[in-house]
């Protein structure tokens, strides 16, 4: 009896995973299909990958995506780490208020964040561009950095910072040489998380960029309207692999910490 129920449990789980991942598997297989037809396998080939790297609009979008992700990661990691240190030093009440304000954007649907940022830029009369997209990415990355640095600060002996001052360190020196090294693990995890989120964001980018500055996700979205070329299968497959690796690294770090 238990063997049968065991079998059904596994079978059910397998079914769930199968339906979750079959589209991606199909996508990856199709990206190696030599023919243009999706119904017929015409042999294994790297054609689409070659075309991918010769397609200037895709290469431009790749540059936008990566550069936005890198810049947003750097800026949000700095701001987020300093914010976490500030929040940690607060008294209980204001700290609780700050944490709610930090958590709120994470629970909000991306579409709400995207639309409200767009409205903000319109309201402030800032034309949407690369810069507005970058600002948007920084703003949605910051809470994640705060949330990964704060637990590290909480774990720390509350006298460690005072010990540094006591030994002659100025507050500035103590920040750079004691506080930040102490929560380095949390900072790196936060940065990786910010980079991953920035890399695969579509909704917020869509609302905050101009039509002539496209990142990969907005480019793919506009391409689907015209009928999609298998080049995009290759592109999507690559993005999937990169994000998968990043996610595995983040998960491993979070478990170790």
């Amino acid at each position: 009896m238990s063997k049968v129920s065991q079998f059904f449990k596994r079978f059910y789980l397998g079914l769930v995973l199968f339906f979750l991942y079959i589209p991606i598997v199909v996508l990856i297989i199709q990206s190696f299909n030599a023919g243009k037809s999706r119904a017929k396998w015409e042999g294994f080939s790297f054609t689409w990958y070659e075309q991918l790297f010769h397609n200037t609009s895709i290469m431009n979008a790749l540059w936008v995506t990566v550069s936005v992700a890198v810049l947003a990661t750097i800026v949000s990691t700095i701001i987020g780490t300093l914010a976490a240190i500030g929040i940690h030093a607060m008294k209980k009440r204001p700290q609780a208020v700050m944490m709610t304000l930090t958590n709120l954007p994470n629970t909000m649907p991306d579409i709400v964040t995207g639309v409200s940022l767009m409205l903000l830029f319109i309201f402030a009369n800032i034309p949407r561009s690369y810069t507005t997209m970058l600002l948007a990415h920084i703003s949605f990355d910051i809470p994640y950095v705060i949330l990964s640095v704060l637990p590290k600060l909480k774990q720390m002996n509350r006298h460690t910072y005072e010990a540094a001052l006591d030994l002659g360190a100025t507050p500035h020196y103590a920040l750079l040489h004691v506080l930040i090294p102490e929560c380095r693990q949390g900072i790196v995890t936060g940065a990786l998380l910010a980079f991953t989120l920035s890399l695969d964001d579509f909704t917020i980018s869509y609302f905050t960029t101009s039509p002539n500055v496209q990142n990969l996700s907005t480019l793919i979205y506009s391409a689907t309207k015209l009928g999609i070329s298998p080049t995009y299968y290759a592109l999507s497959s690559l993005m999937f692999v990169v994000l998968l690796v990043l996610l595995l690294v983040v998960n491993k770090r979070t478990k170790e910490a």
């Binding site: 005072e162 006591d166 002659g168 380095r184």
Partner: protein, 354 residues
């Protein structure tokens, strides 16, 4: 050993947090090379006093003088004091050597000089060869030694220690008490030590400051505090005591437990209410016929060095320590020499003597 010059003066220090007074008009001084202990139950303000001297707290009012100069507005990193924290607060991302070298690096000493002084310190705290170890790989006692070395290497004028032995087990604590005391004498550094452990205070200190509820109850050397406690609280806190309500009949005669006793105290006036304090080891058990009081032994506990007996004398119950045991239920006589009867006004608050 202790010099007469005042190194630190606290004058009328008051500290309030959100309207709650944690230190109420505290005044005390610390002399050069003195080992001063702030002793009291938790919440008495001893740690706050220490943190005010270290510079982590600013007093609401009053002045902190260091060699006669007010340092209230001086940040901690400019004060010539170092602190050993309760749970050590070592830097986990640095190894033992770099933890100890932290303060010296800030002073921009040459590398060779730093290494020499760190090695000398490791030697002093019996951790030679541990320089490359991670601090979280050390035992509690070893971490404690690193914390002490990290502070002492800076050659502070005063070393502040906040219950530094609190996390160690009894045997290790006893050993460290002796080591700390001998270190203090050898290096000639002033120590300000915070503890709630009266035995620790009696063992190590030149001067003990007994505190309670943000007030100083008594300041004196260990023997003085033990033998002449200023009030019933100090007597009870330092060692064990029998504390009874009594009346001072006249000079050198006190009435308690239904009887008059000759004593050596005077100046309380006639028929004044007083607290009478008698140490359990100062009550002698004698024959029933020759005692000043007679009573029945209610219980006997073996305490290692002595027996602790509770004796019911009708009008009062006494705790008595004696190396000879009397069986439970037997009748005994109690005798107290006048010198061992301590008379005090209920809760007085004296300043520092001598």
């Amino acid at each position: 050993m202790v010099e007469n010059e005042h190194l630190i003066d606290l004058n009328h220090i008051t500290k309030e947090y959100d309207g709650v007074t944690v230190l109420d008009d505290i005044s005390l001084y610390i002399r050069r090379k003195e080992f001063v202990t702030l002793l009291g139950p938790s919440g008495c303000g001893k740690t706050t006093t220490l943190r005010i001297i270290a510079g982590f707290e600013t007093p609401t009012s009053g002045e902190v003088l260091f060699e006669g100069r007010d340092i209230v507005s001086l940040p901690p990193y400019k004060r010539r004091v170092n602190t050993v924290f309760q749970k050590y607060a070592l830097f986990p991302h640095l190894n033992v050597h770099d933890n100890i070298a932290f303060g010296l690096k800030l002073k921009k000493l040459p590398r060779a000089e730093i290494d020499r002084r760190v090695d000398a310190m490791l030697d002093l705290v019996n951790l030679s060869g541990y320089g490359k170890r991670r601090v979280d790989a050390l035992s509690g006692g070893q971490q404690q030694r690193v914390a002490i070395a990290r502070s002492l290497v800076n050659e502070p004028e005063v070393l502040l220690l906040d219950e530094p032995l609190g996390a160690l087990d009894l045997k290790l604590r006893k050993g460290m008490q002796l080591e700390l005391k001998s270190m203090q004498q050898r290096l000639g550094i002033t120590f300000l030590y915070v503890t709630h452990d009266q035995e620790e205070a009696l063992t190590m200190s030149d001067t003990i400051v007994v505190m309670r509820d943000g007030h100083i109850l008594q300041i004196g050397d260990p023997k003085h505090i033990y033998d002449e406690p200023a009030n019933a609280f100090v007597a009870d806190f330092i060692g064990e005591s029998n504390i009874l309500r009594g009346t001072m009949v006249r000079d050198e005669l006190v009435h308690f437990a239904g009887q008059d006793f000759p004593c050596v105290d005077f100046g309380f006036g006639e028929d004044a209410p007083v607290d009478v304090v008698i140490r359990p080891e100062d009550i002698m058990l004698v024959g029933e016929d020759v005692g000043q009081l007679t009573g029945t032994i209610r219980s006997v506990l073996f305490k290692g060095v002595h027996y602790e007996m509770i004796i019911d004398c009708g009008a009062a119950t006494f705790k008595v320590h004696s190396t000879t045991m009397q069986p439970q239920g037997s009748r005994v006589g109690l005798s107290i020499v006048p010198f061992n009867i301590h008379i005090m006004r209920p809760m007085e608050r004296p300043g520092r003597e001598g």
